[in-house]
């Protein structure tokens, strides 16, 4: 039991980026745009954060972490504009443009590493994010704050109601005077910013540099958390905690007496298997936003 308690900071370290990215994915899907580019956007964010921290940590000790996170957020939002433009303005297939970003992520980030650092990864930074009281990283508090903010915005503000309407029935939303395309643009930009921030949180707490394939499925786990969490903040938070814990267990299982019999791969598979099974079990029930994945044409019915 005590070893499980000792694991808590590590679990929260894994949960935070997954939860932040999943919140972004949830906002986007609730507005009607599926964003499978979370994985790639996290890569862009992680690169931006690592590069900024390496280059700034000596001149601005302490502040460089926060500048790095801000840049990660900005780059994520910027790149997600591609997805927004293709899938909203041009009504293109949302999965194709998302896949394009995922393919671009490794190429662009490592290309920039080669140009800036003359190697296939960023230089390692000396000091990542410092853990706060109880060994808990500030990323956990960021994730918690964002969770509350997203819940408040989506369910307690008119803007949130409008955003959800765009994802359920865009034609009805448009007839009530909502600019569906503008709403969806904001949602995709938010998901890009969240995913970028999540990538930054991941690289600054879990490693000391950015390198190829570093995100290694965290973005896809976030995507799974959105579906398993039934597209509502409470559910997505719970799913992210469960999946983050599974990721942590896969790494630390060798240290836990009671669980040592299980192979680490068991915990790695858990998030994906659970999501697949729940998708089948929930099939036929209307949890997913009804218009998610469909483009909205003005005037079409």
């Amino acid at each position: 039991m005590s070893s499980a308690l000792n694991l808590l900071p590590s679990i929260l370290m894994m949960v935070s980026p997954i939860l932040i990215a999943a919140l972004g994915g949830m906002i986007s899907e609730r507005s009607g745009v599926v964003n499978i580019a979370l994985e790639g956007l996290m890569g862009f964010g992680a690169f931006a954060a690592a590069a900024a921290n390496v280059l700034l940590e000596e001149r601005l000790p302490g502040a460089s972490i926060w500048i790095a996170l801000a840049l990660a957020t900005a780059l994520g939002a910027l790149v997600s504009l591609i997805h927004a433009f293709a899938s909203i303005s041009l009504s293109a297939d949302q999965v194709v443009s998302g896949t394009g970003i995922n393919l671009l992520a490794n190429g662009v980030t490592i290309f920039l590493c080669q140009v800036i650092f003359k190697q296939e990864r960023t230089r390692s930074f000396r000091q990542g994010m410092r853990a706060g009281p109880g060994g808990i990283y500030p990323t956990a508090w960021i994730a918690l704050a964002l969770l509350v903010a997203v819940w408040y915005l989506l369910y307690k503000r008119p803007a949130g109601l409008r955003l959800r309407a765009c994802g359920e029935n865009p034609q009805a939303a448009a007839s009530a005077g909502i600019d569906v395309r503008r709403m969806r643009y904001w949602a995709v930009l938010a998901s890009g910013a969240f995913a970028g921030l999540a990538g930054g949180c991941l690289v600054l707490t879990q490693t000391i540099e950015y390198k190829e394939n570093m995100i290694n499925g965290a973005g896809f786990i976030a995507l799974a958390a959105v579906a398993f969490g039934r597209w509502i903040p409470k559910g997505v938070a719970g799913a992210s905690c469960l999946f983050g814990a599974a990721v942590a267990f896969a790494i630390y299982v060798v240290n836990i007496e009671a669980l040592r019999a299980l192979p680490p791969e068991f915990f790695s598979i858990l998030p994906y298997a659970i999501t697949l099974v729940t998708l089948v079990a929930f099939s036929g029930k209307d949890y997913a936003p009804r218009a998610a994945g469909q483009s909205y044409e003005k005037g079409a019915s």
Partner: protein, 375 residues
């Protein structure tokens, strides 16, 4: 009447956007232009990039004036899994499905082939034939399961295949490490009877790794074309892709079509896994991450417009980029420019379909305005 009007109103740009092959070429050229500009922007000589590419496809080293056929062989080796994963994506796409799961199906094929390599009968020819067949069969089941979930429970095949990819990856790691003598990254060497090595092809290309997998890939391209364009089954699949409800009403079993298309799609990706594992490597691998052939297959199929000949050519194109990487790197060109080019091509294609729709709608509008007598 509306159709005639739209036809009359089409300008040259719209007609070009309508021709898929022309647009694919345009999109690829655009990708290369951006890549070239990028290389120039960071102060490297783009000519070196093209020298590397020419050396890969022709074997000629323009800077030294030497010729070595091995480069051509390695180019075809690199293209083989890309064409196969492209066929996988394309086959599902023709039936209206988006198979992001080629990656996982590739891993399943590779893992089963590794097991047959160690536990199958070490008889020449029979051994590798068995490994390839079982690998394809397992991958077909892996893909077909997603088709079944889609047809029976309406589970999105996009989400389901992403989940199945990672399940396959970690399952493969776990199972492969059970093989005796395996460390954390590789198994012992395969017996010679299971290798896809082909002395004639190797001799032809100056001891490259070109192997029987290349023949299997060519056969797959022909199989794809024949099944899709010339048989009743292919027609049913395409009809399902065009309009599921219309297909159902005309007596096509949509559930069967969906499961079958995902299963065959999986078999192609599984063959890619067998070709890589038994052709290019002499040992089994404990995968540390995804090989990304499946995801690049999406780009291949998109550029090839999901047709058999188009996918074949696109696979050769992406194989060329991939096998040019080490040559580029040795000439101070960051090799990631090839990933950027493939990523850009996919992004441009997603934009293309949108532009096409908008141009068509505008042409229709113009045609309607210009032809008031029709009303």
């Amino acid at each position: 009447m509306a159709r005639r009007a739209a036809g009359l109103g089409r300008g040259p740009i719209v007609r070009l956007a309508g021709s898929d092959a022309a647009m694919s070429v345009l999109v690829v050229i655009l990708g290369f232009l951006v890549g070239t500009a990028l290389v120039a922007a960071v102060g490297r000589d783009p000519a070196n990039m093209y020298r590397a590419i020419i050396q890969v496809v022709s074997g000629f080293d323009l800077t030294r004036g030497t010729w070595n056929a091995r480069y051509i062989g390695e180019w075809l080796v690199a293209s083989t899994p890309l064409v196969l994963c492209g066929l996988s994506m394309a086959f599902a796409a023709r039936a209206g499905l988006f198979n992001i799961g080629a990656e996982g199906q590739y891993i399943v094929g590779l893992t089963v082939a590794q097991f047959v390599a160690f536990y199958g009968p070490p008889v020449p020819i029979l051994h590798w034939v068995l490994a390839v067949l079982l690998g394809m069969l397992a991958a077909a089941a892996w893909g077909g399961l997603v088709g079944f979930l889609k047809a029976r429970y309406a589970v999105s095949e996009v989400v389901a295949t992403i989940m199945m990819n990672y399940i396959a990856l970690y399952l493969s790691r776990y199972l492969t490490m059970l093989i005796p003598g395996t460390n954390t990254y590789k198994t012992p060497s395969f017996p010679a009877t299971v290798r896809l090595g082909n002395a004639w092809l190797e001799g032809l290309t100056n001891r490259s790794r070109l192997n029987t997998g290349f023949y299997l890939m060519l056969a797959s391209v022909l199989f794809f074309w024949f099944l899709m364009e010339k048989t009743r089954t292919g027609f049913a699949l395409r009809a399902t892709g065009f309009n599921k409800d219309a297909a159902r009403c005309s007596g096509i079993d949509v559930t069967r079509s969906t499961v079958l298309s995902m299963a065959i799609s999986g078999a192609f990706a599984g063959l890619a896994g067998c070709a890589v594992c038994l052709g290019s490597f002499g040992y089994g691998r404990v995968l540390a991450g995804l090989d990304n052939y499946g995801f690049n297959g999406i780009a291949v199929a998109l550029v090839g417009n999901s047709s058999a000949p188009g996918t074949f050519l696109a696979g050769l194109l992406f194989g060329m980029l991939q096998s040019a990487q080490p040559l580029m790197q040795s000439r101070q060109i960051p090799k990631e420019v090839t990933y950027i080019i493939s990523g850009l091509v996919v992004v441009f294609i997603s934009l293309r379909s949108g532009f096409g729709l908008i141009l068509e709608a505008r042409a229709k509008q113009l045609a309607r305005k210009g032809k008031p007598r029709d009303e």
